[in-house]
Amino acid sequence: MTARDIILEAHGLKLHFTTAKPLFGKAKIIRAVDGVDLRIRRGETLAIVGESGCGKSTLARLLVRLFSPTEGSVTYDGQNIANKSEHDMRALRRDLQFIFQDPFSSLNPQMSVGALIEEPLRVHRIGTPAERRTKVAHLLSRVGLSPQIADRYPHEFSGGQRQRIGIARALASGPKVLIGDEPVSALDVSIQAQVVNILEDLKEEFGLTLVIIAHDLAVVRHMADRVAVMYLGEIVELASVDALFNAPRHPYTAALIAAIPVPHIGARVATAKLQGDPPNPIDLPTGCRFYPRCPHATDLCRSERPILTNSDHQVACHFADDLNLAGLSDNATARSPAAAARFDLYREARARKDKEAAT
């Protein structure tokens, strides 16, 4: 693979936070992201998954310099953005945009929808006011909203509509990379499906590279080309979506997959392979960070930290070659014939309605 295929690259990326110093003793260090190497390919959808507190949101923010790293580099377009000045970063932000999880707190309530979407255009001095208005109308219709709502305010909209406004705003400057921090997790199932479809359409239309932070593995399975699994600030496995779900190589990935409840009767029951909570990133275990919760841990895991392999299916586990881990089984997804027939009926009826609406 040539360097041209890599759009964004993180190398040895670390971000450590320091807690407030207590009255006695030393301040503690939180290793939110602790040595991440990641190469994001042009045009792909990369998902980053993991439990709360694993550092996935922090990593996403580091990739677009919403945080400055303690150590390491982030290379975009041949430039290291990790230590650029705020002023120099501004021009680059045109290319790197972010969608936030909470559509309620991420839109300024005092700005109209039109002004919110226009703001990135104004900041980057794109177009004349009239051109910008046309662009805003176009963006609104692209995310499935009526251009007439440009004069209204965020509080008038539901969560799903606000998330579309957030997406339109992120797209306004014509970005190359779009990073979404749980972009659909706050939404209801039917609305979530609409937004997932919109993101996929827009990715195609604008030639975007998508980085999706998510904890819903079904959404990840549907959207991603490759998946990175994070645990306590490190990537423990990174592979293509099929390889990862069908044949996981890290015990943590296998446990995550086993815990997904499958929406079919008679499918396997979700199993709690992991006991206990994720340890916090202040008191990190020595050796492999996963060993206290790992069913396969040995003395080696306690003492020596495994390194992420450099191959197609990257994994950081001493025993990745020896373990035979279960992925998703086929019966987890089989639908009954009667249900499948109804799904087809529904799909046809939807298509017919859409056609009628279009004519």
């Binding site: 609305i191 079904a218 709690a272 006991q275 997804t333 009954s336």
Partner: protein, 330 residues
């Protein structure tokens, strides 16, 4: 079959001053040991239904406008306050979604569990504390002795939810209502909690109403499923039938909106539009404006019809195959 533990008939709830009911004509029964999952999106009335049963509706403005809900032969909806209070926490208990906001942050968790035991069983403080310890053991909290004196902020989200469950089950209720008990939790912790709820239920034989939007959770936990849309039950039946023979267009749409874990589909087949607002509930079938099968018949409210003995659906067009045949021949 003997008489059910809980018998809800025609439950309706309305905001005072609005023309249509928020929850309309909800009926179901539940026997001991059974789990009913209520599925639906925000605003479908699933939480309101549970709150009404617990007598916890914010009233005013919310008001029960009709129906009965019988537990142990007593109608929960008309019971005087003091009698309801002696039922709540003893015969029925509720677990909320947000374990942080539903625990008292200023009280030690041992005291919070002991409080409900003392209130309902009239035992000494010492016995109540012993019961609290026993409950913490039952919900498998590690080092329970030391956790008795912990405050909620000392615990993780999963541990707090375990405390909520311990508190709910402290008096061995016959009916447990759980409103999205695992939604705020990580998938690994969710698996632990569901596992725990399953085993506690089989030990105690209590009935459970589990409110959720996650069809995966439903498939794992439910004996019966009620699918709600905009305040009405649109389809109800044994879990296997709902998944293997879904009848209502909303049930089917909801299922096809969920990304499948298996083969990667091209595009999700969605439900267009949004759920109706509380003050703009449509007349007739409430799903009609989003339904691809809707026609003029849907201006009238569809009655519940039987698909089989236990499987019911409220749709003029069910079964959908018959409908498309007519269309094809026309």
């Amino acid at each position: 079959m003997n008489t059910p533990l809980l018998d809800v008939r025609g439950l309706s709830i309305r905001i005072a001053g609005t023309p249509r009911d928020l929850v309309e004509d909800v009926s179901f029964t539940l026997s001991a040991g059974e789990t009913l999952c209520v599925v639906g999106e925000s605003g479908c009335g699933k939480s309101l239904t549970a709150l009404a049963l617990m007598g916890l509706l914010a009233s005013p403005p919310l008001k029960v406008t009709g129906g009965t809900a019988t537990l142990d032969g007593q109608d929960l909806l008309t019971l005087p306050r003091d009698q309801l209070q002696s039922l709540r926490g003893r015969r029925m208990a509720m677990i909320f979604q947000e374990p942080m906001t539903s625990l008292n942050p200023a009280l030690r968790i041992g005291d919070q569990i002991a409080e409900t035991v003392q209130r309902h069983q009239g035992v000494s403080a010492k016995e109540a504390r012993a019961r609290a310890l026993e409950m913490l053991k039952r919900v498998r909290i590690p080092a329970p002795e030391s956790r008795l004196d912990a405050y909620p902020h000392n615990l993780s989200g999963g541990m707090r939810q375990r405390v909520m469950i311990a508190m709910g089950l402290a008096n061995d209720p016959a009916l447990l209502l759980a409103d999205e008990p695992t939604t705020a939790l990580d998938v690994t912790i969710q698996a632990q909690i569901l596992d725990l709820m399953r085993s506690l239920q089989s030990e105690s034989g209590s009935a459970m109403i589990l409110i959720t939007h996650d069809l995966g959770v439903v498939a794992e936990m439910a004996d019966k499923v009620a699918v709600m849309y905009a305040g009405r039950i649109v389809e109800m039946g044994p879990a296997a039938q709902i998944f293997e023979d879904p009848q209502h267009p909303y049930t089917i749409g909801l299922m096809s909106s969920m990304p499948a874990l298996g083969e990667r589909t091209e595009r999700l087949v969605t439900i267009p539009g949004v759920v109706p607002q509380a003050n703009h509930m449509p007349a007739g079938c409430r799903f009609a404006e989003r339904c691809p099968f809707a026609d003029a018949t849907c201006m009238k409210t569809p009655p519940m019809q039987d698909v089989s003995t236990n499987h019911h659906v409220a749709c003029w067009h069910a079964p959908l195959e018959a409908q498309t045949e007519v269309r094809a021949s026309a």
